[in-house]
Structure formats: structure tokens, C-alpha cells
Symmetry: C2
Subunit: 318 residues, 2 copies
């Protein structure tokens, strides 16, 4: 008789998350990944046509660890017509000793949102200037909110400029984030972000560049987490060329999706100039910010983030 896996619903997951230090755990995941201590096979993909939907299966484990994790994440974009979220999914935790399932986290894609925001905070903590004058947020959706909230672990700065195309979404953003204590102004002119912010997070699924090299101030850090497919692109490639430090969460993945591969294709950036986030975090890559440095982190999402957050929730439940 085997022990059945724990089934953990979203409400319980949210309360368990309050007990764990995700910054540390996910940083450890990035370091293990860059040191070759993570086994992360290619992402599984299932495409549906009618209605259009896509399902991604990300999975893997760290060596000398207790668990392996399988994440299922779906996006069904016509769900909005039914009044239900487009994203869904679950994370499954199994024993590395026996293969037995130990936990099923019915997170409805929430943990993916959180681990993505935590990665933004980790990149900013490692790369952003010491004195942040104003935070620039590009986009008004879920990550535009979560990334800003998670930056409170990185900087005391509460001044924010948010860019979006849609006036009413900008209004909602300003009102929602003001409730968290931020002083938020809105703009529909993306150049204003570069002109007044030195810590910028881009969070849109845009396929047209939004932030341009000429508009950025010296000493600025940009975390680009919106683009995660071969087609999406938020930063123009000349901006990547100007960067004094260019970091990818996964170099191999950033060669085919996200911001960097566009710049490599256009000859603006060379692959050997990219630093992997885990190497920066571990100190294997030795880097000290100069005041005028422009830095960019290109985050496309890596299964180690899922592995670390799923394990953390399960272990907190024990």
C-alpha cells in the first residue's frame, strides 16, 4: 500500500508561500542550472486548434536532491469569452528515490506567475544600480503588477512610471499599485520610461520593440521578461549592443527565444558576451557595477524555477 500524494489547492498554496524564502531557493536553482547540476529535458508541447490552446510540460530535477518536478501549464486564450482565466495548470512533485508522487499542487498557473516575478527580483538584486530613482514598468498585466511588488525586496524606491497602450488598463494599474504604497504615474509614451527610470521591467508579449537604445539613461538596469518565444521582442537590438552586462537566465534557451537571439541574428551581440544568471549569482562570473553601466537581464523562464518553487510549497506543507 503506497501513500497517496498530497493534493494541495490554490488557497493553501498561497498561505504556504508566506513561509518560504523564494529568493534564496530560486537563486540556488539558477546556480545549480548554470553549474550543470540540473537535469532539464526539452519542453513538451501540445498544440490545440479549436479552440486554440497550447500546453507546455516542463520537468526536471537537481542532482543529489529529494524530488523531481513535472509542471503542466496551459494557455487557452478564448477562455476570456467564458469568463475564466486563460492560464491553468498544476505542478507535480515525485520522489527521486522511488518515483512515487508525493504532491499535486493545483496552482492554476499561480506558481508560474510567482516564480517569474521572483526571478525578476533576483536579477534586479544582482544587477540594478544602488540608487534607484524611479522604477519603469512596461505593461499593465499580471506580471507588471507582480514584478513591481517583488521589487520591494530589492529597493526602497516607490516612485513608478508605468507604460501601456490602453488608458483604462493604465488607470487600473495606477489605482491597484497605489494601494500597495507606490507613487505611480502613467504614460503612453515609451520614451518617457527610458528618460526618467533607471530600473525598468518589461512585461508585455509585444512582437514590436517598445524600448529603444537611444532613450535609455546611463546607469540603467532593464529586466526583459515579457518575450519568451522566438517572435516576441520588447527591446531594440541596438540597446542590447549598448549593454555593459548582458545576462540570460539560460544561454542555450536565449539563443532561440527572448530578446538576445534577435540581437545575435543582427550581429549586434556575440554569444560569448552573454553571462548566465546562475554564474553571476554564484560569483563564478565576477562583475562589479560601474555607475554608468547599462545592464540587461533577458528572462525566458527555466524549469529550475518550477522545480524550486514546487518543492518549497510541498516541503512547507509537511
Amino acid at each position: 500500500m503506497t501513500t497517496p500524494p498530497q493534493i494541495i489547492a490554490l488557497s493553501k498554496i498561497k498561505s504556504l508561500l508566506r513561509e518560504v524564502d523564494l529568493i534564496d531557493l530560486i537563486s540556488e536553482g539558477f546556480i545549480a542550472y548554470s553549474e550543470g547540476d540540473a537535469v532539464v529535458p526539452p519542453v513538451g508541447e501540445l498544440i490545440l486548434d479549436d479552440p486554440p490552446g497550447e500546453v507546455h510540460i516542463k520537468y526536471g530535477y537537481l542532482h543529489d536532491d529529494d524530488y523531481y518536478v513535472i509542471k503542466i501549464a496551459s494557455g487557452f486564450f478564448e477562455n476570456a469569452n467564458l469568463g475564466i482565466p486563460s492560464s491553468n495548470g498544476m505542478m507535480l512533485v515525485f520522489s527521486q528515490q522511488t518515483g512515487e508522487p508525493v504532491a499535486i499542487l493545483l496552482d492554476e498557473a499561480y506558481l508560474t506567475d510567482v516564480r517569474t516575478a521572483v526571478a525578476g527580483a533576483i536579477a534586479a538584486a544582482a544587477m540594478a544600480p544602488k540608487n534607484v530613482s524611479r522604477i519603469g514598468i512596461v505593461g499593465t498585466g499580471v506580471q507588471a503588477r507582480l514584478q513591481l511588488r517583488h521589487l520591494s525586496t530589492v529597493t526602497d524606491c516607490t516612485k513608478v512610471l508605468v507604460w501601456g497602450r490602453n488608458e483604462s488598463k493604465l488607470d487600473s494599474y495606477v489605482s491597484d499599485m497605489s494601494a500597495y504604497g507606490f507613487e505611480v504615474e502613467a504614460t503612453r509614451d515609451a520614451a518617457q520610461i527610458g528618460a526618467s527610470c533607471n530600473l525598468i521591467v518589461t512585461t508585455t508579449p509585444s512582437k514590436k520593440t517598445i524600448i529603444h537604445g537611444s532613450t535609455i539613461l546611463p546607469g540603467t538596469h532593464i529586466t526583459a521578461m515579457g518575450s519568451d518565444t522566438p517572435e516576441k521582442q520588447e527591446l531594440d537590438t541596438s540597446l542590447l549592443r549598448r549593454a555593459d552586462l548582458l545576462v540570460a537566465d539560460s544561454i542555450s534557451q536565449c539563443l532561440t527565444r527572448g530578446e538576445i537571439h534577435h540581437a545575435i541574428a543582427e550581429g549586434e551581440v556575440r554569444e560569448n558576451s552573454i553571462v548566465e544568471l546562475g554564474d553571476l549569482l554564484s560569483g563564478r562570473e565576477n562583475w562589479v557595477r560601474e555607475d554608468s553601466d547599462i545592464t540587461i537581464a533577458d528572462l525566458t523562464g527555466v524549469a529550475v524555477q518550477d522545480i524550486q518553487i514546487a518543492k518549497a510549497v510541498y516541503e512547507a506543507s509537511l
Copy 2:
């Protein structure tokens, strides 16, 4: 607020299975697969070293259907030392309309065993001689038992000869299967299987051939379901050359794993002589058995079997 998925434990799964006609449902799956109506991406694989373990993720859906299915199946062969089964896993059922999970079947790999045995019965029903004089079973494990039991839907023959290497496992098999009403004799001489049986099922993970072409009687059908990797092989390739009808559950898969690819590599069989099981079942491939025909079905396991059995269990639970 979304509806949480149903969690269905193994005991409940076993009772629900009594309500469904798996032969029909899984036959429909094979037909859909051969007609190109199934979407079945490459199998995901996760390999662990210490202790050794392997995890396979099979997934897909049929067009114009209500659900997609993801199966996770693990094999941790040192579990025997801990007194727990080496196989484990679960099947997940999701809505094709919204991506929402609707059911989690905690089947502990049982449904894989059943769908594999049902495929054997389907192949035998389509291919075996009308008058079965004696059933030959090669192997003494889980599938050696389940395949025989499922053959009761195909033939009234209850005479059985079982082959194995281990005397005590043969004894257990004879005693266990006799309790189901079979008249079982045992042998450690594999040539005896060919000499006296005209419906043979091979179920071992052997990497050395067990059944040889010269030992088989005219009019015999063989279902080879033990070999499912590139290395495993139970039938010698001259036997495949002698076959008047050679069927694969998936032609594309049988070109790299199972029995057939060995015979193709040795020039004994040509790819265009292989018939896909779904085409035989649908009648697209027109074939009538002659009394002396030797027929072989090479079953390596296809995700449509998982899709069909998981859906059936979930729908029976509603």
C-alpha cells in the same frame, strides 16, 4: 472560481473499469491514430541515476474530442528492495475547450498494464486463427497474466503452455492462472511453445531472441508485446520474414523500437510490408486469414491507448 479536478484513487479506478468496454474504445483509438486523427507528440523522458529510474511522459488527444490526456509513468527498479512496486504513475485528463484539469487518476501504473493487455486482445481478435488449440505464453510476469486473462474475450480455448526461465515463477504462474479456470502447463524449453501453440503472446523484456522461426506451426498468430525499446527482442528476425501478415500498433514507432526494426535492419522485412493495427481494424487494410498464415503483431504501446482508457475511467465516474 474553477471546479477542482476529480481525484480518483486506484481502488475506485478498478471498480469504474468494470463499467466500460475497453476493447471498443481502444480499437477506436488505434483507428483514429492510423487515420491521422490523433495528435501524439514525442514521448518526454527523464532519466535518474541514483537510484536508477526512468520517467516517461506520454500525451495527446484525438481531434473533435472533449479531452486531452497526459500520462506520467515511472520505473524505479530498485524499489523491489524496499518492498514497493517498481512502476508508478498517474494519468491526467484536461478539457480540450479550456485547458482545465478535470480528473487526476492515481492509477499507480495499473491503467498502463490494462491498456497494454487490451491491445493484445484487440490484435488477437483481429488476427488469431479461428480455432485456437493451445495458447502459448512467454514470460511469467504481470503482462503474462493480464494478457492471458484478456484473451478470454477472444477465444474459448483454456489450454495454456507457459514458458519461463525460473521454476518457482513458473509454479506461481500455473497456480495463479489455474485459479482463473485455465489448464496450464509449464516448460523451460521455448521450442515447445512453437511446437504446440497456435496463439502465442510474448511478454518478456528479453534482449536475446526466445522464439525462433523454424519452431512455429503454420496457422499461428503471435502477439509480441514484451519488446518496446530499441534493444529488446523476443522473436528472431527469420520469423518476421516468414510472417504472411506483419502488423505494428504504430509503424513509425516500430521502425525504432520493438521487434520489427531488427528485421528491417537485417533486410528480412521491408517497411512497406507492415500494416498498421488501426488500418486492419478499420478495414482500410483488407485481409482475410488463410488457414496456414503466420501472423505477427508487434505492440510497442501508443499514447492513444492511454488517452482512451483515461477518458473512459473519467467519463464512467461522472
